[in-house]
Amino acid sequence: MSDAGAAPHKQDFEEVLDRSDKSVAAFEGHEKNLMDRLQHFLHGNPTMVPVIVLAISIIAFGFIAGDRFFSAFNLSLIMQQVSIIGILAAAQSLVILTAGIDLSVGANMVLASVIMGNLGVQLGLPAPVAIGIGFICGALAGALNGFLVTKVRLPPFIVTLGTWNIFFALNLWLSGAQSIRSQDIDAQAPLLKFFGESINIGGAQFTFGSMLMVLIFAVLWYVLNRTAWGRHVYAVGDDKDAAELAGIRTSRTLVQVYALAGLVCGIAAWAAIGRVGSVSPQSFQEANLQSITAVVIGGISLFGGRGSIIGPLVGALIVGVFNSGLRLAGVDVLWQVFAIGWLTIIAVAMDQWIRKVSA
């Protein structure tokens, strides 16, 4: 302790302090058994949980379902199958990190894809223009969510529940419930299907869509961990009032987060056209909830401010691995749904357990 200039005027009762134990608090060290060590390790590296689960499940299903599961082709196929939900999970993660939730990500994506398709194929605009307008629509839709959350001060759950319906209705209206056929897209605006193309490396088939998913997660990881704005996003989710007092413009940050999430949904729309092969207004109706499942299994806390963005990527892969593995093992679709439900609950329970640590 440093000495001030003049001797401080200590209270009488505080003189007793000179004789008492100087340390603020001491803990009796207790035996750290394996579970404690594991818990401590996971507390320090929470993203390891989904990674470990992914590794174990790949190995387990490799045994159960054999070569058909464990081949390079099948593993790369799983990546393809989760690529759209994965990208939506990235968007969802941004929002959940701010202690919000976005129930409209899937509807936003489908609407953007319908806009891109109609502009590019029916109206014949150049594909890059149609795609760009789709991106802008996604971002604007997200910004609408952000505006309603920050300016009108409605809870994110309610706002995005409403916009889910609004985007869905707009989608129906614009598309007339009609899909745009794959062949028509090939004829008019083949660029729309770009992310469906793939390259083959040693038996594995990587679509540009899967690569896009990884790229988006990498970029968002950089933004969230290496830029000031990213720190602000975490701070706003962790304790909004503290962030505001510390000088962060929380409303502005929130609108930016929702708008960025919307932009990612717009990008997902382009990738979705490639994945499905056509512009389909009826597809991806469960994508909203599936994106939330991937985020939760990936270890991001629904209370905001905690979790690595890489988690949801692993979460999406875990869902894909379970679906593929169970199916190839001959298990009925019903039990796949059952398994994913339990996975979600166990993921959140594990998250609670590793947070409790005597540091």
Partner: protein, 260 residues
């Protein structure tokens, strides 16, 4: 040559509907001093502090910093002008690290291309500065600058918040009830910290209910009552019970201590 106050307020008025929270209140803070502001609940001292820290805008009256008139429209503006506040709630983000919290809202970027175009944070530099500042002010007990703030004790957190204010505050530091939530040992450390900050030349406005602490560290005590400054007393010339009596209206202050 008389010393001029570094921060003054004259005739501040703030109304909330029919309630008058500030009723032509005055305020003076001299360079290098610790000024304690005491007053009963509802006396208006919180409103006064909010006005000078930019959290609210008074309806009437003027505030001068370094003789210049200022009109803060937000706490950020006050901060930019050099007035730092350590809030009662600390304004620390629990999940973020000590270094992150130190620089929250004023992060350092890497120089050159990576800083400007990729907006990369200079993590190493921020951690180095944080470590240095914490050392300077004697908070050696914190081992790992990267540990989350929520793992620190109440006193350590208070320490981090004070160090943050001292690092960035260039003109005035305001502390709102810094020892209210702390035990005896930790309060002692914070009081020592306040002395350290004072010894670096920064004036401190200290709001507190804790008379013993106030009387220990304050150079002058501003007594706030019924929305205005009642008097300013010297802790060496008055007792704690005098102060409480003035604060609650049980006793009238002597003429020489009354408002100047």
């Amino acid at each position: 040559m008389t010393v001029q106050p570094i921060l003054t307020a004259r005739g501040l008025v703030k109304r909330y509907g029919r309630v008058v929270a500030l009723n032509h209140a005055d305020f003076d803070l001299y360079p290098g001093e610790v000024l304690a502001v005491i007053g009963d609940n509802g006396a208006g001292k919180t409103t006064l502090i909010k006005a000078i820290s930019g959290a609210i805008r008074p309806d009437e009256g003027e505030i001068r910093l370094d003789r210049q008139k200022v009109d803060f429209r937000s706490p950020l503006e006050a901060r930019d002008a050099g007035i730092e506040t350590v809030h009662q709630t600390l304004a620390l983000s629990p999940a973020l690290s000590i270094a992150d919290n130190m620089f929250l809202g004023r992060e350092l970027r890497k120089p050159g291309f990576r800083g400007r175009w990729l907006r990369a944070l200079d993590r190493d530099k921020m951690e180095e500065v944080a470590r240095q500042k914490l050392n300077e002010l004697g908070l050696l007990t914190i081992q790992n600058i990267r540990q989350a703030v929520e793992t620190l004790s109440g006193g350590q957190r208070q320490g981090v918040a004070v160090v943050r204010a001292a690092t960035f505050g260039s003109k005035v530091i305001i502390m709102d009830e810094p020892t209210a939530a702390l035990g005896v040992k930790e309060s002692r450390k914070v009081l020592d910290l306040i002395q350290d900050v004072k010894s670096r030349g920064l004036p401190i406005v200290l709001i507190s209910h804790n008379m013993p602490h106030v009387f220990e560290v304050a150079d002058r005590i501003h007594v706030h009552r019924l929305g205005r400054r009642l008097c300013v007393i010297d802790p060496k010339k008055h007792t704690m019970s005098d102060a409480v009596a003035y604060m609650t209206g049980a006793m009238e202050p002597p003429v020489e201590a009354a408002v100047a």
